[in-house]
Symmetry: D2
Subunit: 263 residues, 4 copies
C-alpha cells in the first residue's frame, strides 16, 4: 500500500542545543520512499550521516527559541506482514556476522537476565518463529498496553516488574526474551497505519528462518502498513531525536499516517 | 542557495533488464535535501543500498516496454565554492585512511602513466591547492570542451590524445594528473545551476589542506550551485544508471535546474 | 615497550557450543603486533570477522570434551600513557560521526541515570579531560577494588550501590558518568603489564581534546604497558569469549604478560 | 593443509618514503592464521587499517637507508580448491549488494571493452561456472605464461595484444572477460604452495552459484595450497606494497612457502 506519513516536532530551546534526529526513512528491502520532505524552521545547517545500523541521522544545533521540524514522506510498503509459523531457529554458528550483535544484551534489553523466563514462556514450542510468536502472545496477554503512560525509557526488567507499558516497553521485553534464547532481535521505530491513538510507534523484529520477521505485541493482529524510520539494538540506538545538554522536550509532536491512492 | 533539480529518463526496454541507479542525492556535509521525489513508471520493486563511497543506489529490474524514471529534489547548497590558494599538500602518511583509495589508479584515470606530465604542468607551483589549480587551468587552456560529443566513457590517456572531451573527460584527466602527484582526487556527478547546455554534470574534487575542494575545468570561473548525486574514483563508480545485459540507452533524458526562493 | 602477552583458556564442553572469541589483538594506532599465535586444541574450523567497532572476532563451534585456546602475542606499545590536563570538552556538534555512538547509554552503562551524580563529582572542573580525571579519582577513592569478586557483569547502577567491584565495574561506572556529561567513553579490554594479580584487564577511554585518552581507576598511577584486545560500548560488546547455549565457564584461565628486550 | 609462508622485502630508500603494505594475511572464511610474524628493520611506527575490501593494510614511512620487511605466517588452508561444473550464473538483481562493485570496469580490467570477445570464448557454455572455466582454459591455451617478464602492471587490453604475461596479467584478462558477461570477478594476491618459480602469486575469483570460486589459468590443474594476502578489483587495489613519491623497487624479494606437519 502507499502511505503518507508525517511527523512535526516543535521545541522551545532555552540555549543552543545539539541534536541528532532520525526522521528520514530510508528506502531499502522493505519500503520505497517515493516522495519526502524535511524542513527545519528556522533553517539551520545540517550534516547527515549513516550510523552503524544503516540509519540516516541528521546532526544540527537548534538555536534559541522555537525550533520546529516538519517531515513527511510518501512510502510504498507491504500490505501484509509476512508470518512464518514453523520457520526454524538459526543456529548461532550459521547466523550472518552482521546479525550477531543483535544477540547481545543492550541498555534496555538485559537479555542476560531473562533465560529462565523465556524458557518457561516458550515451553513446548518449536525452536524459531513459534518461540517468538509465543513471546509476543505472552506479552499481549500479560503486559497492559498503556499508550502515553511513560516518557523516559525503562528497561525490560523494569517493564516486567510493572507489567504495563508503552509500545517501546513491549518491544524491549520481547527483544530481551528472544535474545536470551539466542534469537537475534532488534528494535524498530517508525509509523503504523491505523495505529490508535496515532503516534510514532515501536515494534521488534526477530531473525528466524534466515530473515527478519516483524512482531508487534501491541496489536491484536499483524497487519501491513509499517513504515520504518530506524533499526537498532533498543531505544537507545533509535531515538527519533537525541538531544544533548539539559533536557528539552517537544512542546508539540504531531504524527499523521494516511493511505494514498496508488498510481 | 536553494535549487530545484530534476532528471527524467525514459528507456525502451526490449527484455527485462537489471539496473542500478544513482539518482537520489544524499544530504551530507555539502548539501541538505529538503524535498525529494523518485517515481518509476511502471512501478517496480526497488531495493536501495549504500555503496562503498556512501552513495545511495537503487536496484531494480526494468520490465519490457517503456520504462520511465522521474526524480526531482529541492536542495540547499553553497552560494560559493570554497577556494584556497596556498592550501598545502597533505603528506601521504597524514591522509585519513578513507582517502587513500583516491590515490590509486582507476579504470578511466590511469594515474600511473601521468607522473611526468603532471610534474611539467605544475612546475613552479606550491605543493597542494596551487598544483591542482594549475592542472585545472591547463585543462581549460588545452582541452576543447565539446559537450555532447561522446557517449561511451573514454580514459584519461584517450582524452589526452584527443585533446577534446565532455565534462566527464575533463574530470578524468584532472583526476589522473592529481593522483600522479599523490594528491587524492575523486569524481563527482550531479547538477550545476546555469550549466549550458543543461544536462547532468561531472567535475572533480581534490584533497588538499585537510579537506576536499571542488574543481571544474569546464567552467570559466568557479561559482556555487553544485548538487552532488554521487562520489567515486571515476565514471565507472558513479554511473547515474548502470544497466546489465545488452546495452539500452535512454530515449529521452531531461535535466532541469532552477533557483528557488528561500523560505 | 615490547611485551609478550598470552592467554590460555580451557573449557569442559558438555555439548557442541558456538563461541565468539575476541582474543586476537589488532595492530592500529596504539600498538603494533610483531608476532602472534592462536592455537585451538582440538583444531576446529574458525571464521574470523570484523565487528562494528573494528575488533577481530573468531567464530567457531567447540566440540564436546576439553577445548583449549592458546593465544600469545608480541606487541610494541607505549611506555607512557598520554595525559592531558586541561584538554577541552568537544562540543557534541563537533564530534566525529563515529564517536557519537559512545555517547549513548548501553547495557552496563546506564548513563541516562547518572547526570546529577556526574555533575556533583566534577563540580569546579574545567569541561573535558579534567572532568574525566575527577571521575577516575572519585572512583579510586570511593569504590573498593576487589579483583576476582564477581563473575557475571553487573551494571553501573549496581556497582554504585555495592561500592565495590572488579576492573570491569570501575570501567562501567566511569563510562556511565562520562557519557552523562556528553563525553564519549568506551570500554577497553586487554592486558596490562605488571597488573597485580595478573589477569585479563578492563579500563576505559574518554574522547576529549580531539582524541581518545586512557583512564584506569584501578591503578594508583597511569603507567604504560597496555595491550588492547577490543573496544566497545561496554562489557557486552567486548567479551573475550561469548558463548551461546547453556553457560560454560573456563576451567582454567591463565594470563601472562612479560617485558621483552627490544631489538 | 598447514603451510609456512614468508615474504622478505628489502628496499634502498633515498629519502623518507610513505608506504602502504598489505602483507598480513587475514583469517576468514578460507584460511586460519595460527602464527604470524611481522618485523620491520629498522623499527618504525606503523598504523594498521582495514580497507574497503576487508584487507589489513599497514601504513608507515620508511626512513633513509636500507629498509627491510620480514613477514611470515603459519596458515591452515584447504587441501583442494572447490570446483563446481554447472554452478549457475547469478542474475545481477540477485547478487548481494557487496558483490556489485566487482562487476564494474577497473584500472587494469577494462571489462567495458571485452563483451564480444567473452561471448565468443564462452559460446555454447552454460551460463555461470562453465563460462568462467572456458575463459580460464582459453587463457591457458592462448596467453604465454612468462613469469618475471614484467614489472609494471599492464591492463587486460595490453595483455590481450601481447598474448603473454605474468600471473597478474592472466588474472586481469580473466577478470575483464568475466565482468563483461556480468559475472563478478576479483583479483587475489597471495601465496601458492609449490608455485614454480616460487614468488608472490596472483589469481582470480568469480562469483557464480552463490559464492566465490577460485580460478588460476597459470596452473595446469587447480590444486589446494592457496594463501590469500588481499582481495580487490585488480592489481591497483592489492599491491603488496604501495609506495608514494619517486619509485623505489625492492633490492631483494624472497618468498618461501613450505608444508608443515599438522598437529
Amino acid at each position: 500500500m502507499k502511505l503518507y506519513t508525517s511527523c512535526d516536532l516543535a521545541f522551545e530551546i532555552p540555549a543552543p542545543t545539539p541534536f541528532v534526529l532520525m526522521l528520514r526513512p530510508r528506502s531499502g528491502m522493505q519500503q520505497w520512499i517515493t516522495r519526502e520532505e524535511y524542513r527545519l524552521v528556522p533553517s539551520v545547517s545540517v550534516f547527515e550521516f549513516t550510523d552503524n545500523y544503516g540509519n540516516l541521522c541528521q546532526r544540527l544545533v537548534a538555536p534559541r527559541g522555537i525550533f520546529t521540524v516538519y517531515t513527511s514522506a510518501e512510502v510504498m510498503t507491504a500490505d501484509h506482514v509476512d508470518q512464518a509459523r514453523g520457520a526454524p531457529f538459526v543456529e548461532v554458528q550459521k547466523l550472518p556476522d552482521a546479525e550477531l550483535s543483535y544477540l547481545l544484551p543492550s541498555r534496555y534489553c538485559e537479555s542476560d537476565r531473562f533465560g529462565q523466563m523465556a524458557t518457561e514462556i516458550t515451553a513446548g514450542q518449536r525452536a524459531g518463529y513459534d518461540q517468538v510468536a509465543a513471546i509476543a502472545a505472552w506479552l499481549r496477554a500479560n503486559i497492559l498496553f498503556a499508550p502515553g503512560s511513560s516518557n523516559i525509557p525503562v528497561s525490560a526488567i523494569e517493564v516486567n516488574l510493572k507489567q504495563s507499558g508503552v509500545c517501546r516497553d513491549f518491544a524491549h521485553l520481547g527483544i530481551a526474551l528472544c535474545r536470551s534464547l539466542s534469537i537475534p532481535a532488534r528494535m524498530v521505530v517508525g509509523y503504523l497505519y491505523q495505529l490508535d491513538p496515532m503516534d510514532l510507534h515501536a515494534w521488534f523484529e526477530a531473525y528466524v528462518g534466515g530473515r527478519w520477521y516483524t512482531f508487534d505485541a501491541t496489536q491484536a493482529e499483524l497487519k501491513g502498513g509499517y513504515v520504518v524510520l530506524g533499526y537498532g539494538r533498543d531505544a537507545a540506538d533509535v531515538a527519533v531525536y537525541n538531544q544533548f545538554g539539559p533536557a528539552v522536550h517537544p512542546t508539540t509532536q504531531t504524527v499523521c499516517v494516511q493511505r494514498l491512492k496508488e498510481d
